[in-house]
Assembly symmetry: C2
Homo-oligomer: 431 residues x 2
Amino acid sequence: MRELFSKVNAVDLAEFISEMDPEDERLVILFRLMPKEFGAEVFAYLDRDAQQRVVQGISDKELRGIMDELFLDDTVDFIEEMPASIVRRVIKLADHETRKQINQLLMYPDDSAGSLMTTEYMEAKTGWSIAQAIASVRSQCEDMEFISTLFVTDGARHLKGSVLLKDLLAASDSDSVASIVNTNINFVSTLTDQAEVADMFKRYDLVTLPVVDGEQRLVGIISIDDIVDVIDEEATEDIYKMAAMEPIEQSYSDAGVFTLARKRIVWLAVLMISSTVTGFIIERFQAALAANVLLVSFIPMLMDTGGNASSQTSASVIRALVLKEVAFRDIFKVIWKEFRVSVIVGAGIAALNFLRVMLFNRNLLVALVVSATLFIVIVVSKIVGCVLPMFAQRIHLDPALMASPMITTIVDAVALLVYFGIASQVFGIAV
Amino acid sequence: MRELFSKVNAVDLAEFISEMDPEDERLVILFRLMPKEFGAEVFAYLDRDAQQRVVQGISDKELRGIMDELFLDDTVDFIEEMPASIVRRVIKLADHETRKQINQLLMYPDDSAGSLMTTEYMEAKTGWSIAQAIASVRSQCEDMEFISTLFVTDGARHLKGSVLLKDLLAASDSDSVASIVNTNINFVSTLTDQAEVADMFKRYDLVTLPVVDGEQRLVGIISIDDIVDVIDEEATEDIYKMAAMEPIEQSYSDAGVFTLARKRIVWLAVLMISSTVTGFIIERFQAALAANVLLVSFIPMLMDTGGNASSQTSASVIRALVLKEVAFRDIFKVIWKEFRVSVIVGAGIAALNFLRVMLFNRNLLVALVVSATLFIVIVVSKIVGCVLPMFAQRIHLDPALMASPMITTIVDAVALLVYFGIASQVFGIAV
């Protein structure tokens, strides 16, 4: 049996089990057959329903066995998903020290460094020799998820620096920890936002980052494999905001229908109401439209193209702001760049449109009016699409969230005003 | 001086130097003052212009010093950015073995596992004892960027498994490497796409991943800190595609005006041409519109809301597909979920619109027609917004790229047809 389990990957097996019918009795039986350590690994990757089913099907002794093998951060993730009855049973079974750590970790706000960190890390004391430190590593390291760095603290547990495991191993036994400690290190507090933590990992190419409390005492570490998920989460949040939705906390498949509806309806309502403006503009030019109904048929195309042109620019600029490739101080550089891009793109699209209108409608005046409008709309859309997100960032609003509805409304209104303005001049229609 | 440099972070200093005027002579002087190892670290983080300036300002001996300290993957990244004259000088200065490795790494296609990997990793042989392995680690590890795992190979360099450094350190000296080797490991080939590599890191919570050639011989490793950049790159690509742009290879600030224009104009042209369809529909209903011009004023709002509703859904579903939260086999589950969401959202928005039209236009029939259209448009938009990306994925097209223009065109056409259909029934207008 051990032989068999050594051939499969815990993640793949967990996925297989998670897809089984939760009522299937073989689920718990299969789980009982696994070697203890492997079982805990599989358990950590199970989905919520399967975890609950396993916990309900096994004895207290078996549950304690799994808890002993689970990494502390996985235990906390699991507890956060479980109903109260199971949480009580798990907490009751945990030993005193683990219980204290679990309760501590459960207290940190979502998306804070405290909620990301684990309290399992390797520590060295300022006074130790290399031999002492290596001996300590060798005795502790088997229980650690991830080792690459030891954190050095003084007697009061204040963070003093770090020692890379590779430097420790390369040093000679008679040296002291103090001789290879790196005192110029990055750290965060338990309340630092996870997006900021992820940015530090990226900026400084970190592998682990120590977390300190209000008194600069080391309380945990965050390792890069937890940051990978944060980076995906942050990108998902930005994508949701750019598509005019509030982000959801869980995955799409876990999110309920009412949650999804709630996250979507707000912006949809705001955008619908703000399009009252375009309605007013059209009503104001009713006479002109009634006199030349052909003009109406280009309204959707002009508004769509303006919307697409501005969202191209705002998506590029918002992403560049998030990745810290540009900042507010670059605003004139960005405007000048987008202006030149928009002139090229606008001229190309306007020329193409001219050919199209001549081909389908054979009306030179209309072709000229629509193409001129298109050119102006594309230039204005691209400028609005870069300026608004940058100003939003400047006044500490989320560029992704703030920009989209305002940009749409402004671009739609500009498109119509320019169109009707040019059209009424050219066709001499009273408005 | 060393004291001073030990207080600043290499990344921060590199940023400061990169922002200096490249003609400023103090740039090279500052660089010469740095301790060798620190200088190499700073060098790796400099931007292209500053790197070029430094290389032009220092002697061959100094350059060789930097090359000796640089990690091989950083050297390759640097060479890829430099003009031919500097590349020749660097290659000439490298020793035979390094030169061979650089040339090898430069050959792998962009975005392949080969181009991500480094050839600096720790190896153990199948027949070794623990003591031998630890001694080997201690002698090699200082030159490594990242150690957490040793890769075990046989005499012909075929990959046989891996040993976690923590297991090695925890084992007793008299054991053999064979007793703690993990033979069930993940690996990729040099030609595996970087998106697939990133997915493996995420799925299996990996820290390093070995890369093998066509004959299963170990040729390098990829470590998780290189994957962090890949994840950001892939998210940026998806954001660009969703905003109807082709992705750019460099960062926004490095991309030239013509590159940006080229990446944007294609989809803008496709979308503009495809909106010919909406123009035709409007022309076909000209008579109805001329008879009731008030109807025209709601066209932009209906199309915008349809577009927003569909992009909310397509953004959610595309992201869920990318993160592997849903797959094609879930299509009926997704449609059923989106249908229920759309009924809730559609009913809410339609009711709000009804109130708005009654308030501003005081026309019951128009309010009913517009609200009914709005409800249907939102439901259809959300279904189209989830079905198309999933089918695109099924037939191995990129959901992000394929979905957007087709969805817009379909949703726009449906909005107009439903609107005019209902309006002509209610108002009894001949079409």
